[in-house]
C-alpha cells in the first residue's frame, strides 16, 4: 500500500507539472462551456422550435455534451501519452526491474486522471450554474451512473492505446485519431438533436456518443437509455481484458 500511495502522489505531482495536462484536464471543459455560451449567438436563447416558455436553451443542451467531452479529454489526451512516453524512455522497463507490479502504475495513473476529471467537472458545473443558471438533471441517478460507466469505458479505450503505443508521439497520434471523431459523435460540433436519424443511430454505438446520449436523456428526459448503457458496458467488457492482455513493458 505504501508503494501505491507514494506512486500515486508522485504521478499526481508529475501530472500537475505539465501545463497542458492542467489546462486540458482541469480547465478545458469550463473554458469551452463558458466560451460557447457567451460567444456563440443564440446559445442563451430558448431553442426556436420550443413552444414552452421554460424551454431549454442551447447552453442547457450543451452541458451534457461538455461532460462527455471532459471524460474523453482525460481518457484520451492525458492518460495514454504518459505510458507512451514511459515506454519510449525505458521508464516502464526500469520499473519492471523493481518489485512494483505493472498494475500498480495503471492504478495510480487511473486514480490521478479520474481525480483531475472529477475536479474539472466540478469546476465546469459550478460555472454552468453560476454563469448560465442551467437546470438540474431530471434523473440524477442515471446521470451519475452514466458518468461512472462512461469514465470506465473511456479509460478502457485509452487503456488499449496506453497498452500498445511505443512512444509519446504514437500515443498522441492514436489518441487524437480517436478523440476528434468521438467528439463529433458526442455532439460537440453538431448537437445530437440536429443529427440525422442515421448519424444519431451510429452515434449511439460509438463509445462517447453513447455517453453523450445517455447523459442527455438523464438530464432532460424521463426514459432509460438501455441501448446506450448496454453499448458502454459492452465496450468496457471487451476492451479492459484486451488492454490488460496486450500491455507491454517495452
Amino acid at each position: 500500500m505504501h508503494a501505491l500511495r507514494t506512486l500515486t502522489l508522485t504521478q499526481a505531482r508529475l501530472f500537475l507539472r505539465e501545463p497542458a495536462n492542467v489546462f486540458f484536464g482541469l480547465l478545458f471543459p469550463t473554458v469551452l462551456l463558458v466560451g460557447v455560451g457567451l460567444l456563440l449567438p443564440g446559445m442563451r436563447d430558448p431553442i426556436a422550435q420550443a413552444t414552452d416558455p421554460a424551454a431549454l436553451r442551447g447552453i442547457d443542451v450543451y452541458l451534457p455534451v461538455v461532460l462527455a467531452l471532459a471524460i474523453a479529454t482525460v481518457a484520451l489526451t492525458t492518460f495514454p501519452p504518459t505510458f507512451g512516453a514511459y515506454r519510449e524512455k525505458g521508464i516502464l522497463r526500469r520499473l519492471s526491474t523493481t518489485p512494483l507490479a505493472a498494475s500498480r502504475l495503471l492504478v495510480a495513473e487511473v486514480a490521478v486522471n479520474v481525480g483531475v476529471l472529477l475536479l474539472g467537472v466540478v469546476i465546469a458545473l459550478i460555472a454552468a450554474v453560476a454563469v448560465f443558471d442551467v437546470v438540474a438533471p431530471r434523473q440524477p441517478v442515471l446521470v451519475a451512473a452514466t458518468f461512472a460507466l462512461g469514465v470506465v469505458q473511456m479509460l478502457a479505450v485509452g487503456g488499449l492505446v496506453a497498452a500498445l503505443v511505443p512512444t509519446a508521439g504514437a500515443a498522441s497520434v492514436a489518441s487524437m485519431s480517436l478523440y476528434f471523431p468521438m467528439l463529433f459523435f458526442a455532439g460537440v460540433w453538431v448537437p445530437t438533436p440536429l443529427m440525422s436519424e442515421t448519424l444519431r443511430a451510429i452515434s449511439a454505438v460509438v463509445p462517447l456518443g453513447a455517453v453523450s446520449q445517455s447523459l442527455t436523456e438523464g438530464w432532460f428526459g424521463s426514459g432509460v437509455p438501455a441501448l446506450q448503457l448496454g453499448v458502454m458496458a459492452a465496450w468496457t467488457v471487451v476492451l479492459v481484458p484486451l488492454a490488460a492482455r496486450l500491455f507491454r513493458w517495452t
Binding site: A3, R5, T6, L7, T10, L14, R93, R94, T97, P99
Partner: protein, 323 residues
C-alpha cells in the same frame, strides 16, 4: 570462491537469426564483484538481462540466489537491484522524489539521501531529472538500484559518461557496498575500472566466454612480456645504447624516442639490460618497468576494436624500431 549466488551454465540467446549469446557459463560467489568485459556487441548486456529476468534464455541454465529469473521473477525483483544501460526517469521528477518512490517499493529500504550523498548528489535532491547532467543521471540510476538494499546489484556500464572525479566517487561507493556483503555484477568496457574493482572478471567475445579469472591473473597470462622504458644519464649515448641493447638475447624489440629507449622482451629483461649498459659505461636513469595490464590481456583476447582507456603516459614518437 564463496558459495555461488549466481550460476550461469551454457547460456544461449538469439534475436531472430542473430546469435547474441552462444555459450556463456560463470559463477559469482556471495560478496564478490564480478566484472563482465567484452567488446561492443559481445553479448554482455544480453547476458545480464537474462540474469535479471528481462530476457528469456533460449537455452542453458540460470540461477540467481537459487531462483529461476523467469519463474520466480517477483521474488528476484525484491532481492536484486538493477541499473540498466538506457533506463530513464520522468523528466520532471526530482532526485528526492525518485529516491523516495523507489524506496517505497521495498519493505526495508536504505536511506536514499545517504546514498545520494555518497554519490555526490547530496545538493541535487530538489533538482529535476532532466536538469541533471548525464553523469548525475547515471549516479541517480546507481542509487535507485541500491536503495532496496539488494543482495545482488547488477550494474550495466557503471561509469560511462562520468568525469574522473565522479568515477572515483562511484568506485568508492561500490567498494563500500561490496564490503557490506552485497554481490555485484558489473558490465564494463573500462579496463581500469575492472582492475580496480573486480575480484574476478569474465571476458565475453562474440557470445562466448573467452577468458575468466582475477584481473591480475589474466594480465599475467598475456603474452606481451615485459616492457622497460629508460633514459640515459648522457643523452648522446642513446643511439649507441639502443644498438647495444638490441643485441641482447633477452630483448625482442627496441624502440628509441626523442630521449628514451623502450624495450620489450623476456621477464628477465630488466637485469640484463641494466648490466649491459653498466658494462658499457652508460648510466640508465628514470628506469620504468611496466607490468602487463588487464588491457593488454583484453587486446590479446578480443582484438583492439573497442574504445580504449587512456595510456598511463603518452607514448613518445618513435623514430626507429627493432633492427
Amino acid at each position: 570462491m564463496p558459495a555461488p549466488v549466481i550460476e550461469v551454465a551454457d547460456l544461449r540467446k538469439s534475436y531472430g537469426v542473430t546469435l547474441a549469446v552462444r555459450d556463456v557459463s560463470f559463477e559469482v560467489g556471495r560478496g564478490e564483484i564480478l566484472g563482465i568485459l567484452g567488446p561492443n556487441g559481445a553479448g554482455k548486456t544480453t547476458t545480464v538481462e537474462t540474469l535479471t529476468g528481462l530476457r528469456t534464455a533460449d537455452g542453458g541454465r540460470v540461477r540467481v540466489l537459487g531462483l529461476d529469473p523467469q519463474r520466480d521473477r517477483a521474488e528476484l525483483r525484491r532481492r536484486v537491484g538493477v541499473q540498466l544501460q538506457d533506463g530513464e526517469l520522468p523528466p520532471k521528477i526530482t532526485v528526492a522524489e525518485a529516491l523516495d518512490l523507489f524506496a517505497s517499493f521495498h519493505t526495508d529500504p536504505a536511506d536514499g539521501r545517504e546514498l545520494a550523498a555518497g554519490l555526490g548528489l547530496g545538493d541535487k535532491l530538489a533538482t529535476r531529472y532532466r536538469d541533471l547532467s548525464g553523469g548525475q543521471q547515471q549516479r541517480l540510476a546507481i542509487a535507485l538500484a541500491l536503495v532496496g538494499r539488494p543482495e545482488i546489484a547488477v550494474l550495466d556500464e557503471l561509469t560511462t559518461g562520468l568525469d574522473p572525479q565522479a568515477r572515483r566517487e562511484v568506485w568508492d561507493l561500490i567498494a563500500r557496498v561490496r564490503d557490506s556483503g552485497v554481490t555485484i555484477v558489473l558490465v564494463t568496457h573500462f579496463m581500469d575500472e575492472a582492475e580496480r574493482l573486480c575480484d574476478r572478471v569474465v571476458v565475453i567475445d562474440d557470445g562466448r566466454v573467452v577468458a575468466s579469472g582475477t584481473p591480475a591473473g589474466l594480465a599475467a597470462a598475456a603474452p606481451r612480456g615485459q616492457v622497460l622504458r629508460l633514459r640515459l644519464a648522457e643523452p648522446g649515448d642513446l643511439t649507441a645504447g639502443a644498438r647495444l641493447l638490441a643485441a641482447l638475447s633477452e630483448v625482442s624489440e627496441v624502440a628509441t624516442g626523442a630521449d628514451e629507449i623502450v624495450l620489450r622482451g623476456r621477464a628477465d629483461l630488466v637485469v640484463a639490460a641494466v648490466r649491459a649498459l653498466d658494462r658499457a659505461g652508460m648510466t640508465p636513469v628514470d628506469v620504468d618497468v611496466q607490468r602487463t595490464s588487464l588491457e593488454d590481456a583484453f587486446v590479446h583476447l578480443v582484438g583492439d576494436d573497442r574504445p580504449r582507456t587512456p595510456e598511463p603516459r603518452p607514448a613518445p614518437a618513435l623514430t626507429a624500431t627493432e633492427d
